[in-house]
Each structure stands twice: as C-alpha cells, then as structure tokens.
C-alpha cells in the first residue's frame, strides 16, 4: 500500500474513532451529558488519539530506520572488489536503488510480472535497454551483481513495506479496541487526553534539540569520514586550499578562515560606526517623528533577502569599485582587476548589517537608565559628552555583545560572499583582491554532482562543522555578555 494511502487510512480511522467514541459514551450515559466525567469530545478525542498517535509514531520511526537496515544488508552483497575503478560503494548503491525503482515501476506498470523480474538475468538480458523501454532511464549498463542486489533490495523493500502497513494498521486497530472498551461515562477521558496533548506539545518543543543534534551528528559523521581520508593536520594547520578531483588535494581551512575573517572585518568596519551612530542619533537626539520614519526605513535593509545584496555586490558595487580602482578606473590606480573582491563583499555585507547593529545598539542604549543621563546633564555636560563619557561606557558590554552577534552573522553569511567575494583561496592583505570564504567553499564543494566518498566533497562537512562551532561560540558568548549586561540594570 503506498505511504500516502496508509497515512490517509490511519487518519480516516482516527476520524471515525472520534465520532464512534463520542456516540458510544453518550449512548451509555443515556444522552445525559451530566452523567459523564468529561465532555463528549474528550471521549472522541481519546479514541482518535489512541488510533493515530502510536500508529503514526511507529510509521515515522519505521520510515527513518528501514532504508538504513535494507541498505546495510544489501550493501553486503557488493564485494569491495566488484566496485569498479573510480567509483565507490555509495555510487554503486545509488545505482542499485535506481534499478530497484525501475523494477518496481515495471511491475506496478504491468510491463513485467514478478516472476519475469525474478528470472531476469543481467548476463543474458540488456537490463538497461529493457528498462529504458519502460521509461526508466539508467546512466550505465547494469552489471549482474548490481541487478542481483537490486532484486534483493526491491524484495526487502516490498517485504518491509508490507510489514510496515500491517503493523501500522494493527497498532491503529489495537489503539481503537483499547480506547473503545475504556469509553465509559466514568472514564476520566479529559485527563487522559490532556496528558496526551501535553506529551505532543513536549515533543514539538523537543524538536529544537533534535534539530541541533541532527545538525551536529550529520556533520560529525561525515567529518569523521573526511578525516579518515584526509590528514586532519593539513585541514587545520595547512596553508593551501587546492581541491583536485584526481586526488591529492590540499584542503586547509586556514586560507578560507582568513578570507572569512577579513571580509567580516571590513563588513564590521562599515556597519559598526554607521549602525552605532545611527542608533545614538535615533535614541538620544531624534524627535519622535524622525524616529517613527527613519527607524522602520533602516529596518527595511534588514528585511531584504541576501540574494538581493549578492546581486547588488556582483553587478553594482563590484563594477563601481573597478571603475574607481581598476586598471582604467577614474583614479587610475590599477589596484583592482575584477569586480569580486574582499572590499566588494565587505562593503555590501556591511550595508546589510547596519540595521542589525543599530537596532541591537538601540535596545542596549535604551537600557541605560535615564537617571544616569540626568546625572551627567545636571552637572552641565552637553548631550554628546554625556553619551561619550557616561552612556557608551555604561552600555559598552552590551555593545560588544551586539558587535559579536553581528560578527557571527557576517561569518555565516553565504550569498553575498558567493557572489561578491570570488573563489581564490589565499592569504593576502590586499582588500582589492578576490578571496574566498568558508561558506563559499561549502556551496561550491556540495553543489553539482558530488561524490560523497571523496575528501573534496566531504571537506564541506568539516568546513560546515567548523563554521557551526565558530558561530555558535560567538553567539553563546555574545548572548552571555548581553544577558549579564541587562541584569545589571534590572
């Protein structure tokens, strides 16, 4: 039974259970609602939840587990010596899956019978041509061991799916039976339902933990794989980034980290003074009218998607900078050879971060108590003296926290650097040169047909994990500082 049908069936059963539970308890109570412990809807909901929740939960676990189990048993059929030169187990397994899918289509479409499939022999029949006729395109000829694996893959999947259907439906039935028999007027249906709902709410909240665990694990496993194929010392301490798909790559994070930090530094150089002064002006000088207009306008900058900034960097700011600093530029300096550069990406990222810095600083400056300003003004200080010598020093920890948050944003930003920074990994202090960043490399190593067994692809996971750790560390530090700061004035 297809998955969607199974889900719909379970849901239909649950819906039916709802009405049956309701009707039954009302009948038992002789139609008198006052004889019930809970309202009728709770009896109905109890039945519905008993039908749906265990069944769907088992289904989800099954969906997650079955592919791994089958894969593990089938991949044992492919001996290491059978893997062709230049390929690997993963690629062979994806062939196996594709062939198995093809066989499935053939059977469900009625083009081949089950027996025909079982009898098919790759040494005799051209499986690729045969499946091609049925509209299943295969990239290469099917070798006997692949076909054999595909057959057992298919049969395991079919058995698994049948078993899955049976177990899920059985669970739904059992849930229905138990809850139905419990549906009596004195049954505390509301308490049971509320406990179940609470459990669901809790499960939803736990998804946050699950996501984090998912992020860490998914990158950790592949990173471990990567370090199995590539020397970790080269990754952390090497000085060259030169992926080479024939093998023998030098994959060091340091030049990428340099590019990332350099661009982020330029971005902060643009965003922090502008953002901070804007926040100071808005919170200390501007009248309510100016604030009501300027603040939302500035915040529009924060709502613009990064792809827009990326395009702006690539097509507007980059060429503009070349026109100024390039070979035939207006300044005649010849410093810049292409539109992509550290400066291009840095400036545009800085523009993006202006509202981020200004709204965070605005909050933080506003948290400085008014009595502090009064104290200074009352001594005859000018507003600017008050701001520079009292408000800013008092707000400094919070502002540092805000800048760290902005830095973490800049480090993790992808589209602007992908489009504006360039692709050359190097250590250079020249902001007019194009450089590359961690995020850019993640995108370029993982887009296109990556081979998930080569260090050149897997390095992206190690880069991702490093990026995650770096930004997480900055965030935790920043949030800690900001919280400490706020507590001081509460």
């Amino acid at each position: 039974m297809p998955l969607s049908w199974l889900v719909l069936l379970v849901l239909a059963l649950a819906a039916a259970g709802y009405f049956i539970g309701r009707i039954r308890v009302l009948k038992l109570a002789g139609g008198d609602i006052r004889a019930l412990h809970s309202l009728p809807i709770y009896y109905g909901t109890n039945v519905a939840l008993s039908v749906a929740v265990p069944a769907i939960a088992v289904l989800l676990v099954w969906l997650l587990a079955q592919p791994t189990l089958i894969e593990r048993s089938v991949s044992g059929m492919i001996a290491p010596e059978m893997i062709p030169e230049g390929s690997n187990l993963n690629l062979v397994m994806s062939d196996v899956r594709r062939v198995a899918d093809g066989l499935n289509t053939a059977i469900s479409g009625g083009a081949m019978s089950l027996a025909e499939v079982e009898a098919m022999d790759a040494t005799v029949v051209d499986v690729r041509a045969r499946l091609g006729e049925l509209g299943v395109a295969l990239g290469q000829d099917v070798r006997p061991e692949v076909l054999a694996a595909a057959k057992s893959y298919r049969s395991a999947a079919v058995t698994g799916n049948t078993l899955r259907t049976l177990i899920v439906l059985a669970l739904a039935g059992i849930g229905f039976g138990i809850s139905f028999s419990k549906t009596k007027p004195d049954y505390r249906a509301r308490n049971v339902v509320e406990r179940a709902v609470l459990a669901l709410l809790m499960a939803a909240a736990s998804l946050a933990i699950l996501t984090t665990v998912g992020i860490v694990l998914s990158m950790l496993f592949e990173t471990i794989n990567f370090f199995g194929l590539h020397n970790w010392r080269d990754f952390f301490f090497g000085t060259t980034w030169a992926p080479n798909f024939r093998g023998d790559s030098e994959l060091s994070i340091l030049p990428l980290l340099w590019g990332t930090l350099y661009i982020s530094f330029i971005a902060l150089l643009v965003a922090v003074p502008i953002g901070l002064f804007a926040a100071i002006y808005l919170s200390e000088y501007a009248g309510p009218k100016t604030r009501a207009i300027a603040k939302p306008l500035l915040e529009i900058l924060a709502g613009i998607p990064t792809i827009v900034y990326g395009l702006f960097a690539l097509l507007t700011v980059g060429p503009l900078l070349v026109n100024m600093f390039g070979q035939s530029g207006s300044l005649g300096l010849g410093w810049m050879s292409g539109a992509t550069s550290v400066l291009t990406a840095g400036i545009v990222m800085g523009i993006m971060l202006i509202p981020f810095v200004s709204s965070l600083s605005d909050d933080i400056i506003n948290a400085v108590p008014q009595t502090m300003r009064d104290g200074s003004l009352g001594l005859g200080a000018t507003p600017s003296e008050t701001i520079r010598q009292v408000v800013i020093p008092a707000a400094l920890p919070g502002i540092v926290g805000a800048i760290l948050l902005a830095a973490s944003r800049a480090i993790g930003e992808t589209m602007i650097v992908v489009m504006g920074a360039g692709a050359i990994a190097k250590f250079s202090a020249n902001p007019f040169e194009s450089m590359t960043t961690i995020t850019t490399r993640i995108v370029s190593q993982l887009t296109g047909d990556g081979d998930f067994a080569s260090p050149e692809t897997l390095v992206a996971f190690a880069l991702g994990l490093s990026l995650f750790v770096l930004t997480l560390g900055l965030n935790v530090l920043a949030l800690y500082i900001v919280r400490k700061y706020r507590e001081q004035y509460e």
Binding site: P67, R190, E194, L200, L201, M202, A204, A205, S206, L207, A208, I209, T211, T212, G214, I215, S218, M219, F221, I274, F277, A278, Y281, L282, A294, L297, L298, I300, L301, G303, P305, T306, I307, V308, L311, F312, L315, I351, I354, S358, T382, P383, S384, E385, I387, R388, G412, T414, M415, V418, T439, V443, L446, T447, A460, F461, F468, T471, L472, L479
Partner: protein
C-alpha cells in the same frame, strides 16, 4: 540686558550667563559635530536603501517588457500535416526544423508587405528571432491544429540582442565583436520598427513562464520557480505553524523550570542564529543522503526552511502568549477550567493575531532564503513545466525564486542580469505584501492590556 540693576547688593556674578565663554563655544561645536555624525550615519543608511531600491527598479523593470516581431505566417498544410488527417500524433512528429521554412517565408512576405528594402537573406533575417521562435510556433500549432492551412498573425520573440537594442543595452558600438548579431541586422530591425512589425510590449511570460536554457534569455520566466517557492511555503506553513505553536505553548505555559527546559530554550535561541547554510548541510545529509527524499524537490526545501523558520516562529509566538495577561488564565481556572482548557480556549485565541503576524514574518524570511536551497539542488535549469498536481509540485524537481535569481546572475549575460533584477522585483513585491499584511494584522488586532 540690565543685569545687576534688580538685585541690589547682590554679589556680582563672576561670569555672566549671557555671554558664552570660549570653552563653552568649543564644547558646543563638538556637540554639533557629534550630532552631525549621527545624522550622517542615518543619511548613509537611508542613501543605501534608496540606492538599492532605485538600482533594482531601474535595472529590473526592463524584464517585464520584451521585444516581439509580429508577422503573418502561413501554416502550410504541406509542411505541417502532409496526411491532412489533423492527427495530433502526426503533427507532433514535425520537429521545430520543419517550422523554420515557414518563418523564413513569413519574413519574405513581411518585407514585401511593408516595402522594406534590404539585402539580407531571409535566413539572416530569421536570426533576429529567438532560438525558441520555431518551438513557439510549433506549440501554437499543436494547441490549435485546426488552424493548419490558414494564415495567422503571430507574435515571435525577438532574440536577446534585438531586445537589448530596444532597451538601449546593446548599441552598434557594443556589437563589434558579437557573433550573434550584425549591424545589417540592426538596420533591418530599425526598418521593422518603422514598419510597426517590431515592438516592445509587456511580457506576461516573464511572470508565469519557465526558465530557459542559457542561449535564450528572452524566453526565460520566473513562474515555475514561483510555484516551487509556493509549494515550499505551503510545507513551511503546514509544519512550522503547528509545531511552532505547540512548542511555544509548552515552553510558555506548561514547561517546568528544570534543566531540560533550559536546554530547549538555549537550543532555540542558538538555532535562531545558526547560519542558514548549515541548515542546508543538514538537509543534504539527512533528507537526501540518508532518507533518500528526491533531490531538488520543494518538499525537501520546505522541510529545511521549516527547521530554519521554527525558532523565529517560536520566539514570536511566545511573545504573543506572554502578552496575554495572567488574569485571563486566572479567570478561566477560577470557573473550573483545566489548565489545558484555559490555554486552548482563552489564551491561544487572544494570542492568535500575534502568532499569525510572527508566522507571516517567518514565512517572508524563508521565502527570501537562498543558501540552503543551493545545497539540496534547487538550482539550475530544472523545471520547464508547471507542476500539474500537488504531489508533483512537492516532489518533482523545481527551483525557487531566489535560487532562480542566483542561477540567472551566474549566467554572465546582461540579458540574464536584467531578468535577475526583474526577479528581485517580483520577490520584493511578495515580501512587501507579506510584511504589509503582518503590519496590518498587528494594527487591526493589537490589544493593549
């Protein structure tokens, strides 16, 4: 002013308040400078906003118009349906090559009708059309087989150089080394303009059409990618809203103060700041490599964006729940409602506008997100047809608006750049409408307790 007349016998002040000493003047100058820095900062911010918006508008509006050549075409039965049976299968067998002669003839006829004097051969004339002109005509014939044998007026897409010429992007100087167009062809274009056969008009296909290969920027549209975005948003809405609301209700109303709750809270605030590309890696590793969900599918994109949007929705939903005063809960509990009933019957409906506003803003964020989509393969020239069913919309490979824009920007052709800017206009229109809706909802339902 008469300073000392009034207070007879008073100590004469050392310095009068009515004269500024040099130091105060200096300090006031510093004050004004400081204030000016603030104004300059705001000015720069606003200037950037204006620059960005005018750049987008000035470069992108061109994408909404397109140059067409309108000609009379005779749909010769001898070429298109030799059997004369109007059998669709047979008509479909005629490839675009079969249509090329019709177009050439059409040009010859057009030149004749308008009395255009030119040395160009009809084959060279036909080159001013898009490479998809023939398939345009073929699609029309397949849709209207009854028109075969008649002469129809047909609007052909001009190619991107001619379009660029009409929009001022291409000039006679700039085509010196261009193999795709010659000055003679431009002369011919001028003659056609004069004759009224070549015109720049509004191009609905940009908004509803599909992407085209990198040889035919004039035929590319963002419509299919828009559908991809739409399906992703449906997934995000269907998953992130219920899960986010459930999680918020738990954390705000039921969670005991213990270390598990603390861990969840810390997790949520940190997830909100995880770079989006990391979610892309998660999607690639878990949904595609592990669970073998189809690559490039809006479903997977939606799942990734759901995980990314959840923290935003949870944070705003919790704020909305927190804004409902405890007295409402007390009132419900006081008449014997259970805590769950108090929350679902009273608190949640009162917090609904706030939750909705937060959800819309979360969706708007997700709509503009690009980086994670690149990793799960929603990039490149993927889908050329509109999905026909919901299942197909969710599972068949597609792109999304921001990814499509990125794809165009990568193609390094000014004609595609124009489309990228145009795509941004459409994307921004969506974002602006969503945010306006959120603001309106907040204004309409905002309650001060």
């Amino acid at each position: 002013m008469t300073d000392t007349t009034q207070n007879t016998g008073a100590v004469t002040p050392i310095s009068s308040l009515h004269t500024l000493d040099a130091r105060t003047k200096r300090r006031n100058a510093a004050e004004n400078r400081f204030k000016l820095y603030g104004m300059i900062a705001i000015g720069i911010g606003l200037l950037m906003l204006v620059t960005l918006l005018t750049t987008i508008l000035s470069k992108g509006t061109g994408a909404f118009t397109q140059t067409f050549v309108t000609m009379e075409v005779e749909l010769l039965e001898s070429k298109l349906d030799k059997s004369g049976e109007r059998d669709l299968e047979k008509i479909k067998k005629v490839t675009t090559f079969g249509y090329a002669p019709l177009i050439k003839t059409a040009f010859e006829k057009t030149v004749e009708i308008h009395g255009i004097e030119t040395d160009l051969k009809s084959k060279t004339m036909a080159k001013i059309l898009s490479k998809s002109a023939a398939s345009q005509l073929r699609n029309y014939v397949i849709a209207n087989p009854d028109q075969i044998g008649q002469t129809i007026e047909f609007r052909f897409l001009a190619n991107s150089r001619v379009d660029g010429y009409m929009k001022g992007r291409v000039t006679r100087d700039s085509i010196a080394n261009d193999k795709n167009i010659t000055p003679a062809q431009l002369d011919f274009v001028d003659q056609l303009i004069e004759a009224g056969a070549l015109k720049k008009t509004f191009n609905i296909d940009f908004i509803i059409g599909a992407d085209a290969s990198d040889q035919r920027p004039e035929a590319a549209g963002i419509g299919v990618a828009m559908m991809g975005s739409l399906f992703m948003m449906l997934v995000v809405l269907a998953l992130a809203l219920p899960i986010g609301v459930a999680a918020s209700i738990y954390l705000e109303e039921f969670a005991p103060k213990n270390w598990i709750t603390d861990i969840i809270e810390v997790n949520i605030s940190n997830l909100a700041a995880v770079p989006s590309i990391v979610f892309g890696i998660l999607g690639l590793a878990v949904f595609i490599n592990y669970m073998h969900l189809p690559q490039s599918a809006p479903l997977v994109g939606g799942l990734v964006l759901t995980l990314m949007t959840l923290p935003t929705i949870i944070i705003s939903t919790r704020a909305a729940l927190k804004a409902v005063p405890p007295s409402i809960r007390d009132a419900a509990l006081g008449v014997g409602a259970s805590k769950m009933q108090a929350v679902f019957h009273h608190v949640l409906p009162l917090a609904a506008p706030g939750i909705l506003t937060g959800t819309i803003i979360g969706l708007a964020q997700a709509l503009g997100e690009t980086a994670p989509l690149l990793l799960i393969g929603m990039i490149g020239f993927i889908a050329s047809n509109m999905p026909e069913t919901v299942g197909e919309g969710l599972l068949s490979p597609n792109s999304a608006m921001p990814a499509q824009i990125y794809e165009w920007a990568k193609r390094a052709d000014p004609a595609f750049y124009e489309r990228a800017w145009g795509g941004i206009i459409i994307l921004l229109i969506f974002l602006i409408s969503m945010n306006t809706l959120a603001v309106l909802l907040r204004r309409r339902f905002e309650r001060r307790w």
